[in-house]
Amino acid sequence: MSLGIALANLAFALFLVSAAVQVFFLFKNSVSPDALGPWALLAAAVLLLVVLAMRSLEVGFIALTSMYESLAFWAAVVGIVAFIYRHQERLPYKPALVFGATMLAVIMLAIASSPLIPKEALPPIPALRSGWLILHVSFTFVGEAFFVASFVSALMFLATKDGDRRLELDRLTYTAIAVGFPFFTAGALVFGAIWAEQAWGRWWSWDPKETWALVTWLVYTGYLHVRLVMKRKDSWPAILAVAGFLCTIFTFFGVNYLLPGLHSYG
């Protein structure tokens, strides 16, 4: 086993430790918030970024070109976002939101650890050797990490009938999307289109991945208009936030494995 894979496994273990500690505090109903869990989360996220930096040095290019590397990066950013949610003071702290985001990062790493996902660090094929890849992928995943938070808070919103709690969760969902949406717009659509023009001579090809990224963008656009312009705070915005995240997941996994297209390597 290479050092990189060993460190990635250690990061996975730290995510699990963090989840276990968070579960303990959730059931204990402690007044004082869990101090250890989020720090374990941050350590795991930093470790994953170190693993990706080591792989980048090994292959001589930014290690964000395979499914394994993408999942590791996404999980790392989700870990950092969850840590920020624990320590920020502008929004109400919801331990279940941090726990939910941690569990989604655990699922991402479990998929990355699957034998079906190749793990060797390989230098990129010519189509991926571009500086735009760094902007396209990193901005998209930062946006999608905030969509993870919005998905968890939207689910929590739908699961409760308590009016005050709903108001808090609605605000959490909205702020997560308000931060994630500009990152996603810039990464997936703007940088993606500029890179496509430079690589393929067409900035938009209606390739399934592009189309699904647009669908995801449209769903979140719908959310923002329903929430901000129509000022609805009932279940509809939360349902759209959940739908947006399901589209995000399908754009990432489903399109790669079910719909052939120009992004078949990504």
Binding site: P123, R129, L218
Partner: protein, 300 residues
């Protein structure tokens, strides 16, 4: 606003369906692929070419009209405010409108053509310049996977070199006179190595003709078993088609042997709408960021 939400929902759902129905297939393939009713529906509604059909174009036009009306109304409302103006959404909406206009311009004005060239070949460009392929390299990693395809090209016009030995790679196109050249593909073409009396080697790609001592030599193809070369030596009535093996003389040249030569596939693209699209994308990025930075700062 309800119309806007309805159109967004319609576009999202139909775009999803369009990724599930293979696009651009002949009618017979849809008939073979789906039950009769479904295939009829796909063919009659134009869903097989969804993004060029009225099912997509009319709602997109309505969306554009709705967006324009909203943008004007919103912009005027913000201008009337004395403080706390929010122009982020206006910039975003104007960016989206510019993107839709740019898309129509781009898709209608987009032209492309491709050419396969072996090193030494040249191709005339629309402005009278000549694009010459100086060399082509196929670089591989140690494990044999492709690392890069590099076409080294020179563009000259009226004897003047305009672009000298530019390395054209995947992701590094060459822009010249409104055209963008892309490294699109490569292939192996048979070639014939010959040598003259002085021992100087001359390599002809399949289909290439060179004149040596006023005699044209055209390498037509390898023969059926790929051991001998089929050449045409001379021109007109005096020209002869010859099958030659390595070591034999053809005219004043000696056949060295057949080789496989790498040829590059270059694609030339012109897209007059792309600068507007690029400006629109910048407006969208700025507008989105401005909108939410302002809103989050205000705690909305």
């Amino acid at each position: 606003m309800r119309l806007a939400i309805g159109l967004i929902a319609y576009l999202a759902v139909t775009c999803i369906l369009a990724t599930l129905v293979p696009q651009g297939l002949p009618t017979e393939e849809y008939q073979a692929m789906y039950p009769r009713i479904v295939s009829m529906l796909v063919i009659q509604t134009g869903f097989g070419s969804f993004f060029g059909s009225i099912l997509f174009i009319i709602p997109s036009f309505l969306f554009f009209a709705n967006l324009s009306a909203c943008t004007v109304k919103r912009f005027v409302r913000e201008l009337r405010k004395k403080s706390r103006r929010r122009h982020g959404p206006d910039i975003l909406h104007i960016g989206l409108m510019a993107l839709m206009i740019g898309s129509i311009w781009s898709f209608s004005g987009h032209q492309q053509g491709s050419v396969t060239m072996a090193p030494g070949d040249g191709v005339n460009l629309p402005d009278g310049a000549l694009l010459h392929l100086d060399d082509f390299r196929f670089e591989r990693y140690d494990d044999g996977r492709p690392k890069d395809w590099v076409s080294i090209v020179t563009i000259s016009r009226d004897g003047k070199t305009i672009k000298d030995k530019v390395e054209l790679r995947v992701n590094t196109p060459l822009r010249y006179a409104g055209l963008t050249f892309y490294q699109a593909s490569y292939e192996e073409v048979p070639s014939l190595a010959l040598s003259d009396a002085g021992g100087t080697e001359l390599v002809l790609a399949q289909g290439e003709e060179r004149i040596v001592d006023e005699v044209p030599y055209l390498f037509m193809a390898p023969d059926a078993d790929a051991k001998r070369a089929v050449l045409r030596v001379g021109s007109g009535m005096e020209g002869k088609t010859i099958k030659a093996s390595p070591g034999e003389m053809v005219g004043s040249l000696k056949v060295i042997g057949l080789r496989a030569q790498l040829a590059t596939g270059l694609e030339a693209v012109t897209d007059p709408g792309f600068p507007l699209v690029l400006a629109a994308l910048a407006l969208i990025a700025i507008g989105t960021t401005w909108t939410f930075v302002q809103k989050l700062k205000e705690g909305v």
